[in-house]
Amino acid sequence: MIQFDFTVTDPDGLHARPAGQLVKEAQQFKSSLSITKGEKTADLRRLFAVMGLAVKQNETVTIKAEGEDEQEAAAFIQKFLSDNF
């Protein structure tokens, strides 16, 4: 399993459109992917669940990837997050 933290710097937080793209991209990997904020965890393949975390600017989330392509998935998600949020 690979795990990393990411702090959102975008003033709009984890806003709708890139969040939607992130969910779409997450679906191409075989590994299970999750996003956690505080006590709440959501499946990164599920848009409404991810939006339900209501991630704001300066908040930190933890991403977990587990499965055969976890290396690749984690690297991709990390890049996507830093490029977009």
């Binding site: 937080g13 709708a16 459109r17 939607g20 793209q21 969910v23 779409k24 499946d43 393949r45 599920r46 848009l47 409404f48 669940a49 939006m51 339900g52 209501a54």
Partner: protein, 542 residues
């Protein structure tokens, strides 16, 4: 033949099929289905159509309201594919053998409830989104739509239309608009004047029974003929031919100059309400945009539009105008134009109340957001910024110091703006006309808003239908105020235009030329008519 009477608010003739936009909510009944698998397939098909529809709306909205505001249609597509959402619907259909409409509606409420309970304004908006996407799917499932989509050339009928309902409308298919409510200054009226299509408001007895029937709009008489008899059709076609001949003749003036027989030139610009109107400006060969009403940005959203979304809209217009002048008027709301989220107090006398620049100067944060967006957009074309409802020099001083602050902010942020932006004010109050000698020293240009100038000069509320006979739009008092302003403004070497409805009144074109008015800004559909009049005038002869 059924004849319905209303009030014409935009000139023109149209014949076509009526599309009645029915907002009555669809009632969703729970039914048991025999074949849940087939029912789920029905949902899947409706979902696919909804996604296609949203993709088309996104494309259209990018061009009309800009990428930022169009995003919502793209987000809605992704939401419709959300696994939790789809699994919930599938679970209900297959597990409880309920109809797809019911499953979608129940799921929408479930999700909306969850978002609404999060007590976060952004999440509350998500609740609206879930309901929105679900309504679209239910509309497709039931064939009863609550979004205005026309797929063939149509006369659109409704109780009234809001800006957000018309933004997604395919304008190339819109023949005319008839509404049972509305006012002469409503969004519907302005949109139809801009597009040069006929519109009737306050049509008595207009209801859903007109849907799908052939009809003729005659805005000159304010009549809507439903299933017109042969005599009416023959008479109509003769007039339509005449109207089209006239249009062809006028379009022969594209590329010609606005110059009188004795050589006096005048600029003829166009008034627009949104970036979507720019193609009409080009088609009618206007020399620039003399009035871009920025209100649309505020009317179309459910909250204060961001700096970025405003910047995108202004930039789009400036770029599309390819270096021709674009005069953008800062927010002009209040009085007859109300916006919910501004929470403006109810007033006894709104025309003399809290409106336009008075709101901007009282809420500088709203004003500064718009000014930042405008200045940032200024590097993409030839921008002029105009302030509405000015009555005194102190207001102009205050505006100037706010503009200076905004420029400093942009400099500090490292964002570019042009130093060549012209700043001007509207002459809408007798006060501004009377002290135009003082004001002319302070700004680069002026534009006369004749509708308000008339209402304030004649002390007659233009929203009050009982006053129609007391509102003489050619009143000498109004014309003399314009004349006085023109003299004062020219004495300081500045320019003056007219962007109110009077500018398009060709019976006054000669008078305006005699006053030395530099620019007339009219609806795009009126540009060539005014040019034609200018080209027939000889100021050296009486």
């Amino acid at each position: 033949m059924l004849t319905l009477k209303g009030q014409g608010v935009s000139k023109g003739l149209a014949i076509g099929k009526v599309f009645y936009f029915d907002r009555t909510p669809v009632e969703i009944v729970r039914r048991e289905v025999e074949d849940p698998t087939a029912e789920f397939a029905r949902f899947e098909a409706a979902k696919a159509s909804a996604i296609d529809e949203l993709a088309a709306l996104y494309e259209r909205a990018v061009n009309t309201i800009g990428e930022k505001d169009a995003e919502i249609f793209s987000v809605h597509q992704m939401m419709l594919e959300d696994l939790d959402y789809c699994e919930s619907i599938q679970g209900m259909i297959e597990g409880e053998s309920v109809n797809a409409e019911f499953a979608v509606d129940a799921t929408a409420e479930l999700f909306a409830g969850m978002f609404a309970s999060l007590d976060d304004p952004v999440m509350k908006a998500r609740a609206t989104d879930v309901r929105d996407i679900s309504r679209r799917v239910i509309g497709i499932l039931t064939g009863k739509r609550d979004t205005l989509i026309i797929t063939e050339p149509s006369i659109v009928a409704a109780d009234d239309l809001t800006p957000s309902e018309t933004v997604t409308l395919d304008r190339s298919l819109l023949l005319g608009i008839v509404t049972s409510g509305g006012s002469a200054n409503s969004h519907t009226a302005i949109l139809s004047r801009t597009m040069g299509i006929p519109a009737l408001i306050s049509v008595q007895g207009l209801d859903e029974t007109v849907h799908g029937r052939q009809a003729i709009i005659d805005s000159a008489t304010g009549a809507l003929y439903v299933e017109p008899d042969e005599e009416t059709q023959t008479a109509f076609h003769a007039r339509l031919e005449e109207f089209e001949r006239q249009q062809i003749l006028l379009h022969g003036l594209v590329g010609q100059d606005n110059v009188t027989l004795d050589g006096r030139r005048i600029d003829v610009f166009a008034n627009i309400g949104s970036p979507a109107d720019v193609p009409l400006v080009h088609k009618n060969d206007a020399g620039g945009v003399g009035l871009f009403r920025s209100e649309f940005l505020y009317l179309e959203s459910t909250d204060y539009p961001t700096e970025e979304s405003q910047y995108q809209a202004y930039k789009t217009v400036l770029e599309q105008m390819q270096g021709k002048k674009v005069v953008i008027r800062t927010l002009d709301i209040g009085a007859d134009k109300q916006i919910g989220y501004f929470n403006l107090p109810k007033e006894e006398n709104p025309a003399l109340g809290f409106r336009a620049i008075r709101i901007c100067l009282s809420r500088p944060e709203v004003f500064k957001t718009q000014l930042r967006a405008l200045l940032r957009a200024s590097v993409h074309g030839k921008l002029a910024v105009m302030f509405p409802m000015i009555t005194s020099k102190s207001e102009v001083d205050e505006i100037k110091s706010i503009v200076a602050e905004v420029k400093d902010e942009l400099k500090a942020r490292g964002q570019a703006y042009s130093e060549d932006v012209e700043f001007g004010i509207m002459i809408e109050t007798p006060a501004a006309a009377v002290i135009s000698d003082v004001l002319a020293k302070e700004v680069d240009f002026f534009s006369v808003g004749t509708n308000d100038l008339t209402q304030y000069t004649l002390a007659a509320d233009r929203q009050n239908a009982n006053l129609d006979r007391f509102i003489d739009t050619h009143h000498e008092a109004v014309l003399r105020l314009i004349e006085l302003a023109a003299k004062n403004i020219h004495a300081q070497g500045k320019w003056i235009g007219i962007c109110g409805e009077l500018g398009a009144d060709t019976s006054l074109t000669r008078r305006f030329l005699e006053m030395g008015i530099d620019e007339l800004s009219v609806s795009p559909s009126k540009v060539l008519e005014v040019r034609n009049m200018v080209r027939h005038i000889d100021l050296s002869k009486n």
